[in-house]
Each structure stands twice: as C-alpha cells, then as structure tokens.
C-alpha cells in the first residue's frame, strides 16, 4: 500500500538501449521524467544499454530525486559492468536500488 492508502500501482518500466550519453540525454531525461510523472515506482532496465556517461547518470539522478520527492522510487535493473563501474566512480552505487532483473525488482517491492 502507498502512503495514501491506495493500492500500490504496478511499476513503470523504462528500457534504455544503446548509448545513454550526451547525444541521447535529452530523450532519456524526458522518458524518465514522464515515467516518474505516472506516479508509480520506476524500473529502469539497462540490460540493452551498452554505454553510459555522466550525462546519462545525471538523467538518472534527476529522475531518482524527482521520484523520491513525490513518494515513489526509481530502481536500476540489469546493469552492465560498465554501468556499474560508472556508478561506483560516482559513489552512486549505494544511492540507487539495483536489481538483477525485473522479477527481482518486483519481488523486492519495487
């Protein structure tokens, strides 16, 4: 149940693929914020993302903060080794909830 007592909504799933980088950051940002605006938790599936840079990380951080300010959360799912290294470099691997796959995220209550 959510804080408002309503039935918890199914999470929104955003699947990012290819390069999550400076070139694609405007589109990624819009998709993430649109998902957050739906009012449910957001699962960001990065299984098909081959590369992420600081611009992509900035989009994820902004969406995470927006979600938490609205009482929901944003989780990362199926991140690559490259993405994990980038998150670790940014000391953000302990900030984002990270799950192996969608099923694990859902089972954890996301």
């Amino acid at each position: 149940m959510t804080k408002s007592g309503k039935q918890k909504s199914a999470p929104s799933i955003v699947r990012l693929s290819g390069s999550v980088d400076l070139e694609h950051a405007p589109d990624v940002r819009r998709r993430l914020l649109d998902a957050v605006a739906q009012g449910a938790n957001v699962l960001v599936d990065l299984s098909a993302a081959s590369y992420i840079d600081s611009s992509g990380i900035a989009c994820l951080v902004e969406a995470l903060q927006k979600a938490r300010s609205e009482g929901t959360d944003l989780c990362l799912v199926a991140i690559s080794m490259q993405a994990r290294r980038v998150l670790e470099l940014a000391r953000l691997d302990m900030v984002f909830p990270i799950h192996d796959d969608i099923a694990a995220a859902t089972a954890a209550g996301a």
């Binding site: 390069s19 980088d21 400076l22 070139e23 590369y51 840079d53 600081s54 611009s55 990380i57 900035a58 989009c59 951080v61 902004e62 903060q65 080794m81 490259q82 290294r85 980038v86 470099l89 940014a90 000391r91 953000l92 900030v95």
Partner: protein
Amino acid sequence: MTDVANPIPAFADTAEALLELHFIARADRLKLIRGSIRATARMCGFDDGTAQNIVLAVDEACQNVIVHGYGELADGAVVLGLFRCDGGILVRLRDFAPRVDPATVKPRALNDVRPGQLGSHFIREIMDTVEFRPAPEGQGNLLEMTKQIGAPQ
C-alpha cells in the same frame, strides 16, 4: 572550421603516436571515437575494464570541450591524439575554443547527490595525471592526460 594543421606538438622520443582523430565538436560524434579509444588502450596493454574506464575519461573530456568549451559556438574543431609511452597511454586533446581557466574545472563533492558535474570527477578518478598545457600558438586549449598500466583505478 579552424585551421588544425599540426595541432598537436611533437613529443619526447619515448612517445609513439598511435592515432590522431579530427572531429567536429558535436555530441553525435563521440560514439565514433569511443571505439577507437578503446582499441588503442587495448593496444597499449590495458585490460578491457581499464580500457573502458579510459574511454569514459576521454569521452568526458571531449564532452567538456563540446558543452563548456565551444558551447553555443557551432562546429568547433577538436583533435584527439593518442600515444603509447612509458608503459601506458598519453592522451592529448586539442581545441580552439576560448581559453579555459584550469582553476574553474573542478569536480563537485560526491556526497552532494545531484545531477551534473561528474565528468571532471571521472577524468581525475580514472587518469593518473590531468593537466592543461600551453596551447600551440597560444590559441585554444591543450589537455594532457596519462594512465599507466597497473596504476590503481
């Protein structure tokens, strides 16, 4: 475009020039260079994980040129030189944007979780040395970065 003839000065005898890439300062050009940086780092002897980190560091330096160096100035020229030297890699990034004050290029505190300003942190975290050098003819900027094989990440 700016004349980019001989944009990167000569090196010590120990540095072997492996690759020089000329490109326009646009975000969609970065994916074209990432594969070359990774392959060059591997050729220099870095393992794949470290090579990917070097790709990230160089990519972020290029982004700084695009976003902060040229900014609204369209189609600025960028020259990326990659060298094998002294058990590692030397990267030289040359642009013709307004001069950068190195004191203004600072990463933000990581405990301040907010979007943006991570690129400079990545560069300094990954590379062993990061230094702005005097640009040839006093125009633009010349960023030099090195990474030694076996150095901590």
